[in-house]
């Protein structure tokens, strides 16, 4: 990361990023780990680093300008080997349709989870069909073979009461929240179908997820097979800041569980919230892919947990009124999060600045390439959603969708988002074979793009 640290950013024309300062809430200077890297700005060396890039170093002083700001949160890989304990609930659909191979693979996937846990981790298992059962209340896994024995007694029931199952899962997480301060918590919600009992509508379920999120409980949505509702499952993940997986075949279940667990174990920052403070003569028009809370001169968004070695971005759209010539901070971003490596709350802040000028050639040359790439990625997500909508309303033929997806795929490849490009590839293949799961695949790609998951 040290190559990003400019000693005197204000006079370097290539660096539109301005300062990023860190304050630990205890008033401690930020000397922690990583020795030599953190001496210059006071912003490096922490669990997270923050940058706030302007879409252009310059803006025309006598005009109204629309441009972008890009917030980049980077979690270094310095703490490799250390991790925060996790509090995880497996919330499993055991409706009739899970009978046979799926349930066997679910058991295997649960075994896998049990094997991955360390003594401090907390596990609970909730199953739901017509009714909800707590197969294992939240506790540390001391006797792994005993837990597995319980898991292997799983049998199928009939209907799907997803809503109550979800609540029971969240309650298990909450039941140990007192002792699991500093734990990374997550409900893994697995279902293969539509909710058939209890509250079934999208709004009620997603509203419940939002309430749980407000209590600090995140839900990852695992959709299995061809019959689950992808809008619902991706909506849950989106609202919760969790992940979304489309699991095509039962034999993929253990691998997906492993991946989710691994991602949980890599979380270094949770409850990440960004508050933007707007200067006078500045409007924030939107935060791409987010549902922000707007105040008169503030904009707040909640950001999903951040894993070490990864980057999360937030792209914002600003409108700048005319300014007298000069350099201005147009937006200040304040990021608060729970540092789960050091188990303490932390705050970072960074400024997005523009230099207002009367020289149009400066503005033309001042575009920031990193931000330009992010704008393309945001556009790719909008394209994906448009393609899905077009297919659904049949305003787009399969051929039309194919060419749209190929265009989007190219954009993603050029922007370096290979994971999502591969998912688009899978959707293209699905579209060509007529498998009917194009939406299930694309929902995940669009969500990851909107959540700002990079690398």
């Amino acid at each position: 990361m040290e190559d990003r640290t400019q000693i005197i950013p204000s006079v370097d024309p290539n660096v539109t990023r301005m300062n990023a300062g860190i304050t630990q809430m205890g008033g401690q200077p930020t000397q922690m780990l990583g020795g030599p890297l953190q001496t210059v700005m006071g912003s490096t060396g922490g669990t997270l680093q923050l940058e706030f890039l302007a879409g252009n170093q310059y803006a025309m002083a006598p005009e109204v300008t629309r441009d972008h700001g890009l917030l980049i949160l980077t979690a270094g890989d310095l703490q490799a080997g250390r991790r925060a304990p996790i509090n995880v609930c497996l919330c499993i659909d055991r409706s009739g349709s899970m009978e046979g191979e799926p349930l066997e693979y679910v058991k295997r996937a649960c075994d896998y989870v049990v094997d991955m846990l360390e003594p401090d981790d907390i596990l609970s298992i909730v199953t739901f069909e017509e009714q909800v059962d707590v197969l294992m209340p939240a506790r540390k896994v001391l006797n792994k073979s005993l837990v597995k024995e319980h898991i292997h007694r799983l049998s199928v029931g009939n209907t799907t009461n997803l809503y109550d199952g979800l609540i029971a899962g969240c309650m298990q997480i909450a039941s140990v929240q007192q002792v699991s301060q500093g734990y990374v918590n997550r409900v893994l919600l697995l279902t293969d179908g539509e909710p058939t009992v209890g509250l079934k509508d999208y709004t009620s379920i997603v509203q419940q997820v939002a309430e749980q999120k407000a209590r600090g409980i995140t839900v990852t949505a695992l959709g299995f097979g061809p019959d689950y509702r992808e809008e619902l499952m991706s909506g849950i993940a989106r609202r919760s800041g969790g992940n979304y997986y489309y699991i095509q075949r039962p034999d993929l279940l253990p691998e997906v569980f492993r991946r989710e667990l691994e991602s949980l174990m890599h979380v270094v920052a949770k409850n990440v919230k960004v508050k933007f403070h707007l200067s006078r003569w500045v409007q924030m028009r939107q935060v791409y892919g987010q549902q922000p809370t707007f105040g008169p001169r503030t904009v707040e968004v909640s950001v999903p947990d951040i894993e070490r070695g990864t980057t999360r971005t937030l792209l914002v759209d600003v409108e700048l009124d005319k300014h007298p010539a000069g350099t201005y901070r147009v937006v200040r971003a304040e990021v608060t999060f729970d540092d789960v490596i050091f188990n303490r709350p932390s705050t970072l802040s960074a400024d997005c600045t523009f230099q207002f000028t009367n020289d149009r050639t400066l503005v033309q040359a001042g575009v920031n390439r990193t931000v330009a790439t992010e704008i393309e990625i945001a556009q790719a997500s909008i394209n994906l959603q448009r393609t899905m909508m077009g297919l659904k309303t049949q305003q787009l033929t399969a051929m039309g969708a194919l060419s749209e997806l190929q265009k989007t795929r190219t954009i993603l490849m050029q922007a370096g988002q290979t994971d999502q490009a591969q998912q688009v590839d899978a959707a293209i293949a699905g579209l060509q074979r007529g498998t009917g799961d194009v939406d299930k695949t694309l929902m995940g790609a669009a969500l990851q793009l909107d959540q700002g998951t990079r690398k």
């Binding site: 008033g27 210059v40 809370t293 707007f294 008169p296 010539a325 000069g326 201005y328 901070r329 147009v330």
Partner: protein, 328 residues
């Protein structure tokens, strides 16, 4: 930037509590004592806000304070900054500027973007032209309402200051920022002065140069009956009603609505619009349709609430002889 008065040395913890105040990291390394003064204040040369001296940027406008005075303190830019109108969201206190010309509103690719789910991708457009604000629904799914009445898609509807506008379930209030509107008009008029044809008054009645320069009334509503009193009408767009934010506040009559009607007045032409008043506005005995502008002529009887008036134009004694247009 370093104001020497009121100097207090900060404790170490105070110093570290202020995040990101220092861009110039070389200074950060050799902690400059002058830069960490607490208590001293400075004034932003651009927006005149008082800021703690240790701040790097003005806390209001964001100006980089260490740059000193801006090379050309272009105060005209600052003064003329705001848009002539804005939409205000009472739910979150957010305002959306409406600049002269057309502003689109929707969930995607619009000038004003919302995340409200009942708003269509491209829902409506608002056109600001001088003091007039026109809204048009662009065929939205959930419709656009002005003062509770759903407007037809793809049909321009004039909205008045203070009007409640609803896009889907998203409620907004239109605020005309009068002073700016007048300032803009004044500039427009100054540019066009000398060749102002009378026909112009038809559409842009409020662009009449008298607005800014001459506060004299162009017409008078003479009281004939009821609890009210004479009303002097200045040029420009004015609103009538009981609420204090109206241009002309009609206090004496209980039957006048908070926002009752509006008038668009020039030296020889007067357009009256009922703004959805509860008890209506009558011209020569006929009740006006809501939001349908009607031209008034000298001698018309106008009833607002329980008060009846008779309209007379005020003939200016300056160079306005040709303005006496004989109607009937």
């Amino acid at each position: 930037m370093s104001d020497d008065t009121n100097r207090v040395m900060p404790s170490v913890s105070e110093r570290t509590m202020v995040p990101g105040t220092d861009l110039n990291s070389t200074q950060m390394l050799s902690v400059d004592p002058l830069r960490t003064q607490m208590g001293a204040v400075t004034t932003c040369p651009v927006c005149k806000t008082t800021v703690p001296a240790m701040e790097k940027y003005c806390s209001d406008c964001g100006y980089l304070l260490e740059a000193g005075e801006p090379p050309a303190p272009d105060l005209a830019v600052v003064a003329g900054n705001s848009a002539p109108a804005e939409l205000f969201d009472p739910a979150d206190g957010r305002t959306y500027p409406l600049r002269s010309g057309t502003t689109t509103i929707g969930r995607q690719g619009a000038d004003i973007i919302t995340t409200e789910g009942t708003v269509s991708r491209l829902h409506a457009k608002v056109t600001v032209d001088g003091g007039r604000v026109i809204i048009e629904d662009l065929g939205s799914s959930n419709g656009t309402r002005v003062e509770g009445a759903r407007i037809l898609p793809n049909t321009a509807v004039e909205v008045e200051d203070g009007a409640n506008i609803r896009l889907g379930n998203w409620k907004l209030v239109l605020n005309l920022l009068v002073s700016n509107a007048v300032a803009e008009q004044t500039i427009d008029v100054a540019a066009a002065v000398g060749n102002q044809p009378e026909e112009d008054l038809h559409e842009g009645a409020e662009a009449e140069p008298l607005t800014a320069t001459e506060p004299e009334p162009v017409a008078v509503l003479r009281w004939t009956e009821g609890p009210g009193v004479d009303v002097l009408i200045p040029a420009g767009t004015i609103t009538l009603g009981r609420r204090p934010e109206n241009t002309i506040v009609l206090t004496g009559d209980q039957y006048v609505s908070g926002r009752h009607a509006s008038l668009s007045a020039s030296v020889n032409r007067l357009i009256l619009t009922d703004d959805g008043s509860r008890n209506g506005t009558l011209v020569n005995g006929d009740r006006l349709q809501e939001h349908q502008p009607v031209e008034l002529f000298a001698g018309d009887t106008i009833k607002i609430g329980q008060t009846t008036y008779q309209l007379a134009f005020v003939t200016s004694n300056t160079s306005q002889q040709e303005n006496v247009v004989p109607h009937e």
